[in-house]
Symmetry: C2
Subunit: 403 residues, 2 copies
């Protein structure tokens, strides 16, 4: 009897989870062995993390046990950490062992992009995982709790700097504006003493987004007390705060770094050619030069031909990729025809601004305020539906659509 080919999926982010889910439905038990490797036994919603980071949503709402979502009769889950991919030997080194593969799916996600700015890794927080956002939430609370217990009033305890006014930065700032009045009440602190700064090197917040919507977002956030410092590069992060390119220092004990991501460093380490840590994939989502290695999500670089620039890696694209990718693996295994070309279909983009506020573009339509906020929740729920059907929407979804 012919040995079943083994499909090895690395990483249980949007791309890995959806690929595992789709393959388990598309392939019969005898067609292939599917293994999913992830460092945690849970999957989490990366696009929601700004909420538990600020403390406006519990982190358990953003995560789910992998074995509660994946059909474990068809997909074997292994909790382990990927160390290196050895394509020459068709195997993957894990902290706890190694695994051969016939087909590999790399969905190892991203790492914060520091642009080589000194001090970021040592002194800044990043919104990247359940572990990291729990720490941010608790750090912020600790700063509030500490402020009144000191004879000296440390203003830097109540100064919160969000570096980067891209999508994540703005969404996090939005949540902070909701959370901070609650913290002021909890810790007997005057709201006027708290500063929230959004610092962005580019000449606008939300670069690439519709300017009218950007204005709306900035005005709204300013009305909630956010100070924007646009066209303001940061030169260095220290334990005491940030030093701007101008030389000015802003003292703060809380710097949250949200200036974008690069692909997992495991790719470089494993000898793949990358751009900012990402592999520029073939139209069929394979790594160039490999018949059996697919790349998905934040690890995959795809060029938007219209503007000759990479698409920003999003959950939306990762989810769409999983459809093409799983069909292509099935085609290879069953020998049934040509591989499909991946074409992103950007349906829209919505950024939450905290509370009932959001901005977005869906199709060619601009959305503001509560209609955008409702749309954001519908998008979040749609993913849960794709991944785990209605039960998962009920369990983990954002059901308060209009509040």
């Amino acid at each position: 009897m012919k040995k079943k080919p083994r499909i090895l999926i690395l990483g249980a982010g949007y791309g890995g989870m959806m690929t595992a889910s789709r393959l388990s439905k598309q392939l019969g038990y005898n067609d292939a062995e599917i293994i999913l490797v992830n460092k945690h036994n849970y999957h989490y919603q990366t696009t929601w993390l700004h909420e538990p980071a600020a403390g406006t949503l519990h982190h358990d709402r953003t995560r789910m046990r992998i074995d509660s979502v994946i059909d474990t009769n068809k997909v074997k889950f292994i909790k382990d950490v990927v160390v290196e991919i050895k394509t020459a030997d068709k195997k993957v080194i894990l902290e706890g062992g190694e695994l051969d593969y016939d087909y590999l799916v790399i969905g190892l996600g991203s790492e914060p992009e520091t642009f080589g700015i000194p001090g970021v890794e040592e002194h800044a927080f990043s919104i990247r995982s359940v572990n990291s956002v729990r720490q941010i939430r608790e750090h912020i609370e600790y700063m509030f709790a500490s402020y009144n217990n000191s004879e000296i009033k440390h203003e830097d305890y109540l100064t919160f700097i969000v570096a980067g006014a891209g999508f994540t930065g703005i969404e996090f700032v939005g949540e902070l504006t909701e959370r901070i009045p609650e913290l002021c009440k909890e810790y007997d602190i005057d709201r006027k003493k708290v500063r929230i700064l959004s610092v962005e090197a580019a000449p606008t917040a939300l670069p690439g987004f519709d300017p009218e919507l950007v204005d709306y977002a900035m005005s709204l956030l300013e009305s909630r007390g956010v100070e924007f410092k646009i066209s303001t590069p940061i030169k260095e992060v220290t334990k005491d705060g940030v030093i701007l390119a101008s030389g000015e220092e802003i003292k703060s004990k809380t710097i949250v770094w949200t200036t974008g991501v690069r692909g997992s460093s495991i790719l470089d380490k494993s000898g793949f050619e990358t751009m900012r840590g990402r592999i520029k994939v073939e139209p069929d989502l394979r790594a160039p030069g490999y018949e059996d290695v697919f790349v998905i999500g934040d690890c995959a670089l795809i060029i938007n031909e219209e503007i000759n620039r990479p698409y920003p890696p999003t959950a939306q694209i990762a989810i769409q990729q999983s459809s093409t990718l799983s069909k292509n693996i099935k085609a290879l295994i069953t020998g049934s025809g040509n591989l499909e070309t991946f074409v992103p279909d950007i349906k829209g983009t919505v950024a939450s601004l905290g509370g009932k506020e959001a901005i977005g573009i869906v199709g060619s339509k601009k959305l503001y305020g509560s209609s955008a906020s409702t749309m954001k929740k519908i998008i979040d729920n749609r993913y849960l539906y794709l991944l785990g059907g209605l039960p998962l929407v009920v369990k983990k979804g954002k059901l308060n659509l209009f509040s």
Copy 2:
């Protein structure tokens, strides 16, 4: 018309609050002007603070707005910080001004006793106020939240040292044993990784307490994972942990200092003669040599003649003192007879051990387990009843008597 004498009460702890409350009932509006000065606009239950420190009870359950309890038609409340008492001029210097008095009640509470051990003030936490315990709670949570977000597993983040196994130390350790399993769940940490150490210089935990009850408490807490280090003086506290007299270092990011208290440093500063910061009061609770200065609570030293040692300052004694003290002030103002002698009437002592467990002596009867725990809650509620009647018991009391 004769000017009303002014009674100035410094501090809104157990002693100050109960004195204000009793005087406002015992004196008519025309008999005296009563002013209560406190640094916060709230009163808190010092004896409950181990609970919000561990995070088993919200700090708002331990405090109440002063103007919600005191009859503000009869007692004027001033939120300010006492800087110095000038008995020669019969006035008190506040950060925001000064106040004359005809009768002074000093109820300024206590400060942690460090015994001159280096590093305590800089690196250890203390259970002394709402502000301080909120910080402890958040610090502990931050340690848990930080542990899993680091590649290096910092064991010192999960090592909690409680210096002092007296009343407060044991009660706090008890709450920690209840809280830590919850935190392990919240932050995905194996309970076995967490250490709780109770370090005591004396040859026993709870020195002076009934040995049988001490055994019960220690066995119970050990069964919940507490490590006792008895007869183990601490030589120094550093930012990395504690150094024992033996030279051994225990690494920890959380040292909570509970080795007793001394009276407010304002007493020394104001020229009173003190022992460990406390004024050895006359039988009528006046400071020696002063006709018009009364001392109450942690600032007052009272000798237990039976053993020729001071009574440990407790809420129970402070509350009893307020009765004598207010009668004596009334007697001075109305010129009605001799001053009363204060005689403590120790009804019992109960120490909570977390959850439904406690130990105690009431009268000559030893109490264990849930009956002691229920008694502890009854004692807590009794104070609320004395202070604010049934409405305050309903609002802030521990009504879950048997769970």
